[in-house]
Every structure is written in structure tokens, then in C-alpha cells.
Subunit: 336 residues, 2 copies
């Protein structure tokens, strides 16, 4: 059955069904909701005094391809990348609004799979889907708005503008697997099954670091963001907004083992410039970083330090302190 | 200059420039903002305890055509249709997030015009643009998230689910001009200049009824929405959500004079089923409607009443009470 056959309102009912099954009425997001799906807008009564909002879109054949992405994976990722922006603030995700563009000949079961992937992610983080719209479109796009709140009453968040000279620069977990996965998928490369599965998961089912972001804030970290454009590109954003420089030691960068196994030396490029890892990048005094390392379950690796030299710029050095040429400054949607 | 030449970040800076010029730091939305454009998400500290959110997308050649829409008009309308959803709740608009899909060969001056149209609308209603994303896309789409709050401390809003049998049904101003405008524009019809300008304005520069929605709530109206799918289709939504019926008297419907002048008898069809008028449709006891008529500057016309017959259905009658055939139940994006 095509979406053109059941019509917009048939589709909305079908999606509302999948959404409602996924919601647990004990969730904080549900208990604070006053008006949900079905009215002109959603209404909620937040307990936390600070509200957070972000939006991100994924476009067919620009951000994903159905050649190697299932509808369910697309659903997960479209929510996960927005959750990652809430994690990047150290916030608590609460509500999602879904704006969906679909060709008229889209199969209803594919849309159902998309929603199942979305609710896989919203259930895990107790996010209620409270609205959105579905429109006819020549190709698929998914635009997700994620609403949340600060994780503390003081409204402390991670920002891009609060890095200080002398801070250490650290990242969670490892980098490069997502870009390695994209390269593998888009070129149909063959690798050992376990490593290939890991690269695929890294690219298509990224895990937003929600708990980690909140713990960073609670531990006193002020400056941070998620890595969506690549370590170098995103560190440059922090440098620009904080009016500081940064020195990254490429020999310290935790490159994902599966990426190294499949791509060898190229894996470091993926880790530096690949993007879409959705790990957290943050800066703080060394003793705060040590507290973070004790508080977090995941790996936290120091990869450099914040400097006063060259505000807005990132220098790459190796373990001997020699400058390394910066070849490519991260993902840029238009000028690649 | 094409957007591919200045790149994503060049474009973001250009748009942030236009946005910042438009913002007046005395606005409530600005004063409550903690973190705006440039970080991973926007953060604000609302005064009102009830928050409102809505999202709506416009897709090239589905919701608009550049054959007869300027970029500036597109900007206005993309914000206005979302403001209208806030008006439909009787809320106060505060923040907008803009998700924009653009072909790589889009001219930067067109994007600037788009943003000028957006800020024409956000300035009028003191809305701060606080984030969004811009992505490459095979054609243009604009997805706008509008965030706001209730207009009162009790969180009273207009909802679709609170119409009661015995309520009168009323609409603001007149209907049909937007659909008449669309018909005129998409078929290149020629009409007297003044009427043609009015139809064009109705379709491309609709005015969200923000103040009117707030006054409805303050006057005690509980049930209402904006007319985006057409009077009959939208009244059906209220009937379904409120589990009531409705009797609409087609001879009472205030058809826009310019639509009548240009389209004669067809104008009534536009008023009933055309959609995109963005006027307010609401129900309330007769004495509340009379209070609304005194409180509002604009025309408020009673067009029918809420009934217990046929829950979820709208009956059309003429002035003698004879049943009229319901030919078309409003705009449906897929099954037209």
C-alpha cells in the first residue's frame, strides 16, 4: 500500500499508533505534557527552568542513501543526531517533533519501519513524540526538532564559547568508525564480518552520549560539543566561539580499532576529519578531566590543549611536537 | 554567487547577519534567551510555565512554486504558517528554528531575500530566530519550528477537543481569498489589479492571527484552530477530536469579496474547501461569541453550531436548512 492510497490523515493515524505504543506514561516527558499529537501545536509544562531546542534534517542521497540504509536505520539516525545535539549541551531530551517529506509512491510499511526506528531511539531516552507534519516531496527528507531541558536547576550547559587557554582537550570513546563505515558502505568494500558490522553500526546507528553529557556538566565541564563535522572541524568551531587556539596531538587521537583494522593509516584521517561520530569533544582543566575519567564508564582521552596562539585555529602536532599539515578541515555540506 | 561558493559556514554567517539585525534586544524572547545561534542547541529561560511547539514544512513545487513566489514571499509564508499554529493555540510566539534545504547552485542573494522575508514576519511578532540547519538538497524546502508559550499563567489554550454541543461556530475575517489566489497564480489568470493584488497577498503573505488567538483565550473561548485545510476539513478535525457534530450554514460563510469579484460562485467552494486562509475557526456559547465580537477589531461571523448528531461529521445546510452535498473534504496532501 502506498502513502497516496491511505492519504495524509490515514498516514498520521498509522504513525500516531506506532508512536503511542512506544510511550510509557511514567516518563517525565509524558507527565509534563499537556497537549500532544492531534492539535495545532504541542503544549507542555516543564519543571526545569531552562529549555533547550535543536533541529537537524537528513536528505535522501545527501545525508543517506537507501542503497545501504534501511528505513528503520534512517529512523534511528534521524532521532539520534538530534539527541546528540542535546547531549552536546549536557541536557535532558524530552520531546520530538517530526517533519517528514515523502514521495507519494512510498510504501506505508517503509514509513512504519521509519517510525519504528525513531521510536527505538525515543524509547531508549524516554522522549515523547508530540507532533510534526508529513508532506509530499519528490524525495525523502526527515527534519527532527528535539526539545529538552537543562540537567540542573542552574541551567548549566556545555557551550562552544567557554574553552579557556590551559584547558586540556578530551574526547569520549574512539573516532573514525562512522566515516570508515560510510566509505565502506558507499563503495561496497568487503571487510571481516565483525569489523564491517562495527563500522556499519557506527555510521547508521550512532549512540548519542546523553548520560555522558549530563555527567560532564555535573563534573564542572563548561566547554563542549558533539563531533558531527569531524574532530578538527568541530574543535575549530570551539576555537572560533571561544576566541582561543588549540593544539591537537594526532598521536593521542583514539582511532576506532575497527577503522584501523579495515583502513590502516587512512583511519586517522577519518578520525580527524570524517565526522558523524557523535562522540563528545570537551575542554576543561586537567584535574576536571581526571574527575570526568573517574565519573564516566567510557574511555576519555586527552588529545591536546587549548592555547592562546592563533585564536580560531587548530594546530596539529605529532608526539614530538612537530607541526602536521592540516589537509582538510572537516565536513562542509556545500563546498566539498 | 552560489551557495556552493561561499560554503555552509559562509552561508550561516550571512544568514546570522540578517537575523541579528532584525532582533531588538528589548524583546521578551531575546531577554529570556540564554544561548542562541552558534551553539549545538538554543537555550532559554521561559517566564510562562507552559511551553508550545509546532513545526511545518514547505516543499518546492508541492507547497509553493517559484513561478509565482518570490524568495522573500516564501520566507514570510514559511514563518507565517507556523505562527498561525501558535495563534491557533492562543499562544505567544517566541523562538524560531529554521531548517533549510537548498540546491548547491542557489544564489546567495536569493537566500538573503528568503531570510529577509522570514525576518519581516519574526520582527512583526518579536520572534527571535535562535537556530536551525542548512543542508544541500535537490530542491528547496523550508522547515520551521516555532516555539512559544501560553498567553496566561494558567496555561489555557485553544484546543480542537473542547467543542461542546450547543456552541456556535465562528470564523475571523473572510475566507477563500488564498485558494482563489493560488488558482489565479497557478493558471496565470488575469483580474482587475486591486482584486488580483488582494488574492496574491492572501495566498503569499497570509497574516497569522496572533493577537486574535490570545484575545479568544482571554475571552473564555476553549475550542479553536486555524484554517489551513479549509473550513469544512478543519471543522471536521474539531468534530473528530471533540466527538461532536457540526452544522455549517453555507449562506453565512463570509466569502472574501475579492474572491467573489474574480471567481463568482466558485468563491464559495474556495471558502469551504480551499484552505490556507489562516483565519481562526472556533466554537463557544453564543454569549461568549458576542463578547469576542466586541473584543476583536476584525469581523467575527457565526457560521453554524455544534450538534450531537453524527459525531465527527460536518453537515452543510443552506439558509432554509436544506442539506447541501459535501463534495470535497478539504486539502489532503497525498490523496487529492
Amino acid at each position: 500500500m502506498k502513502v497516496s492510497e491511505i492519504g495524509e490523515f490515514g498516514l498520521i493515524n498509522r504513525m500516531a499508533g506506532i508512536t503511542n505504543i512506544s510511550i510509557d506514561k511514567r516518563w517525565k516527558s509524558w507527565r509534563q505534557l499537556v497537549t500532544g499529537i492531534g492539535d495545532d501545536a504541542a503544549v507542555w509544562k516543564p519543571r526545569n527552568p531552562f529549555q533547550i531546542a535543536t533541529v537537524d534534517s537528513m536528505v535522501e542521497d545527501v545525508h543517506f542513501s537507501f542503497k545501504y540504509t534501511t528505513w528503520r536505520e534512517l529512523g534511528w539516525k534521524s532521532i539520534a543526531v538530534n539527541l546528540s545535539d542535546i547531549a552536546a549541551m549536557g541536557g535532558v531530551p524530552m520531546y520530538a517533533l517530526i517533519s517528514l517529506g515523502l514521495p507519494e509512491n512510498t510504501d506505508v510499511k517503509d514509513v512504519a519501519a521509519l517510525y519504528e526506528g525513531m521510536t527505538d531511539a525515543t524509547e531508549l531516552f524516554q522522549v515523547s513524540i508530540v507532533g510534526g507534519d508529513t508532506v509530499s516531496s519528490p524525495f525523502v527528507f526527515v527534519s527532527v526538532t528535539l526539545l529538552g531541558c537543562a540537567s540542573n536547576e542552574q541551567g548549566n550547559t556545555l557551550t562552544r564559547s567557554s574553552a579557556c587557554p590551559g584547558d586540556k582537550i578530551a574526547v569520549t570513546n574512539s573516532l573514525g568508525a562512522s566515516a570508515a563505515g560510510l566509505t565502506m558502505l558507499s563503495n561496497s568494500l568487503e571487510f571481516p564480518a565483525e569489523a564491517a558490522a562495527e563500522l556499519r553500526r557506527a555510521h547508521l546507528k550512532p549512540m548519542p552520549r546523553i548520560a555522558e553529557g549530563q555527567i560532564l556538566v555535573a563534573t564542572g565541564v563548561k566547554a563542549g560539543m558533539d563531533i558531527s563535522d569531524g574532530l578538527v572541524g568541530d574543535m575549530t568551531h570551539i576555537c572560533e566561539m571561544s576566541k582561543v587556539g588549540a593544539r591537537l596531538n594526532i598521536d593521542l587521537v583514539p582511532v576506532a580499532p575497527a577503522a584501523v583494522q579495515c583502513f590502516g593509516g587512512q583511519a586517522l584521517q577519518f578520525a580527524l576529519n570524517g565526522g558523524e561520530d557523535y562522540e563528545l569533544l570537551f575542554t576543561a582543566p586537567a584535574r576536571t578531566i581526571r574527575r570526568v575519567q573517574r565519573a564516566l564508564d567510557c574511555a576519555v582521552t586527552v588529545v591536546g590543549e587549548v592555547t592562546t596562539a592563533h585564536p580560531g585555529k587548530v594546530e596539529l602536532v605529532d608526539r614530538e611536537g612537530r607541526a602536521i599539515d592540516l589537509r582538510k578541515a572537516g565536513w562542509d555540506h556545500f563546498s566539498r
